[in-house]
Amino acid sequence: MKILVIEDEKELASDIVHYLSGENYRCETASDFATAKEKVSLYQYDCILLDLMLPGGDGFDILEHLRSQNKQDGVIIISAKDTLEDKIKGLNIGADDYLAKPFHHSELAARIHSVIRRKQFDPSNLIIQNEIKIDLLSKTVQIEGNPILLTKKEYDLLLFFIGNKNRVLSKSALAEHLSGDVADMFDSHDFVYAHVKNLKKKLNEQGYAGYLKTIYGTGYKWEI
């Protein structure tokens, strides 16, 4: 899988590359408008992470250029501009997702995972990981053919974990994923414990709680 990180802040770009490197991803970076435009014209990527404010130009222009060439690369806009207008504009031009800075890398990884999955034109819309089978259309989960009933939040958490396998996920990252923007209005995110505990219990009923590890004092990890 090829990913292009278009981001002028080199430190941030290298962190993204670092975080994603464990996955089955090959990352390239572009830190200015010209390089970015050249790369998207020449090559094809599974997912492009696009910053809007670039030296030499506007990120929206790259997106327009890409879509005018009929290229179907997945695009996630990562921008400090988080107004509704920018989001709507980005999605209208053809971005697949919009993530406002600052974000947790885990959130970005989950979004990339989701975008790539959608772009693969898999008619069954299934995520299969060892014994676990997730049907994205009907939002149902089966383990070795046995359906398990998850609440919406538990289901979201499961997808988030799978999109960030082998990564330590902090409680605040999980809370932000579940509650979105409002999460940072609160100090305590203890409710995350309850959801994870329930998810773990349900997996355990099928004998597969082993993937989900609690890292003491830090967070959780989906280990494969």
Partner: protein
């Protein structure tokens, strides 16, 4: 408080009263003097005429005696008496008060006594005229003066009214404009032209002052916006680096705890910065989109997002719907308003407390249980933190207030039956 125009009016009135009171004795003295002088002149003239006529008549001693007798009997105001000695007596003028048998009262008389010569014999001529009484003169003058004073005051009042209506009009205009001036709208004030120099100067001075203030306010706003904008990248980097550090397998439990502890102030920094940017954007009226918003729907959406936090604090949550609150406004601002008010209610409720959301006709209210009334003056101000809670950015309610102001809505706080009540009343457009 006295009105500006009443001050000179009062002074003028008192001054006029003093002058008019002083004028009464002066008038009297002048009138009396003219009066007396005139009478004395008249006496002098009469005396000369009598003397000359007797001289020209060349009367015999017997005739003279008969004439003098009848003169003294018939003439009411003069008498001619023979005197024996021919002593050169000077003319004398006197004033006497005596009983007037015709008017049945004492009257003042002015008299002239002189010696005239008729037929080489001296006679004492006495002429007397009734003069107006002093108190009568004073009374008449006083009466006229008081009448005039009344006219004067009446005139002052009328003039005062007319002047205040016309001459002070530009001042009133200026005052009305200043009262409605709002610095946060960043718009200067334009005054009407006036032909009065003082008001023109006043308007110029105020215009300059306001322009400077608006300028300073804009600079301050731009500064906050720029500062928070510039902080975005370092904050994003900090968050990114912490995420990377978090993945380090060699991290000890103690170090992990520290990393976790850093997340908390970082989250607060993120929120404060985000809110400052948001405030700056609302200030600059950047949210011009508008659509019909069903606030019940927005509240339900917000409630779903915040459900975990409600149950975490074991809060009782209920909605009371008595009307429809559908308003045309910016979608983002409507969501922000509801999220801020609901999360505010959750944060400030004690554990196991209660939250009631009321949706009425063109009105929404968020109630949460509390102990005592909050300080209203500072409640909606920026960074006026009422609790020690660290996630409180101190900007949540300031944003709510700003959103209400932009849309012309009314936000109110009340404390009733151990409930904090924040209510928003939408104006009808």
């Amino acid at each position: 408080m006295t009105k500006l125009l009443d001050k000179p009016f009062k002074a003028f009135t008192i001054y006029a009263l003093i002058i008019l009171l002083v004028s009464i004795p002066i008038y009297f003295l002048v009138v009396d003097w003219i009066w007396v002088t005139e009478i004395d002149d008249h006496h002098e003239m009469t005396m000369e005429r009598i003397e000359n006529r007797f001289k020209e008549a060349h009367l015999s001693g017997h005739d003279l005696e008969a004439i003098l007798n009848s003169w003294n009997m018939l003439q009411p105001s003069s008498s001619i008496m023979p005197i024996t000695e021919n002593i050169a007596r000077p003319d004398s003028i006197y004033e006497v008060t005596k009983y007037n048998e015709y008017e049945l009262e004492s009257d003042r008389f002015r008299g002239l006594q002189t010696v005239i010569e008729i037929d080489k014999k001296p006679y004492l001529l006495n002429i007397e005229t009734n003069v107006e009484e002093a108190y009568e003169t004073i009374f008449a003058i006083g009466l006229v003066t008081i009448l005039l004073y009344g006219l004067l005051v009446f005139g002052f009042i009328q003039l005062n009214r007319r002047i205040s209506k016309s001459a002070w009009k530009p001042f009133d205009n200026t005052l009305t404009k200043l009262k409605s001036f709002d610095l946060s709208l960043s718009k200067g004030v334009e005054f009407d032209e006036t032909d009065i120099e003082e008001f023109t100067e006043l308007n110029q001075a105020i215009t300059r002052l306001i322009a400077e203030n608006v300028n300073a306010y804009n600079q301050q706003k731009a500064f906050v916006a720029n500062a928070s904008h510039e902080l975005q990248t370092p904050i994003a980097l900090l968050k990114s680096k912490l995420d990377i550090l978090f993945q380090d397998e060699k991290l000890s439990a103690r170090q992990s705890e520290l990393v976790n502890a850093i997340q908390i102030p970082l989250a607060r920094l993120t929120r404060v910065n985000k809110n400052l940017l948001l405030l700056a954007r609302i200030d600059n009226s950047k949210f011009s989109d508008s659509s019909e918003i069903d606030f019940l729907e927005k509240i339900e959406k917000s409630e779903e997002l915040l459900q975990d936090y409600i149950s975490e604090r074991k809060l009782t949550y209920k909605k009371e719907i008595t009307g429809i609150a559908n308003v045309t406004c910016s979608l983002f601002l409507a969501e922000t308003l509801v999220n801020n008010l609901l999360s505010n209610a959750i944060r400030h409720s004690p554990v196991s407390g209660e939250i009631i959301v009321r949706i009425g006709e063109n009105e929404i209210a968020f109630l949460n249980s509390g102990v005592e009334r909050l300080k209203e003056e500072t409640l909606f101000k920026r960074f006026s933190i009422s609790t020690t809670e660290t996630t409180n950015s101190g900007l949540g309610l300031a944003i709510v207030k700003e959103i209400c102001k932009q849309n012309g809505w009314e936000i109110n706080y009340d404390f009733l039956d151990h409930f904090h009540i924040f209510s928003v009343r939408f104006s009808k457009f």
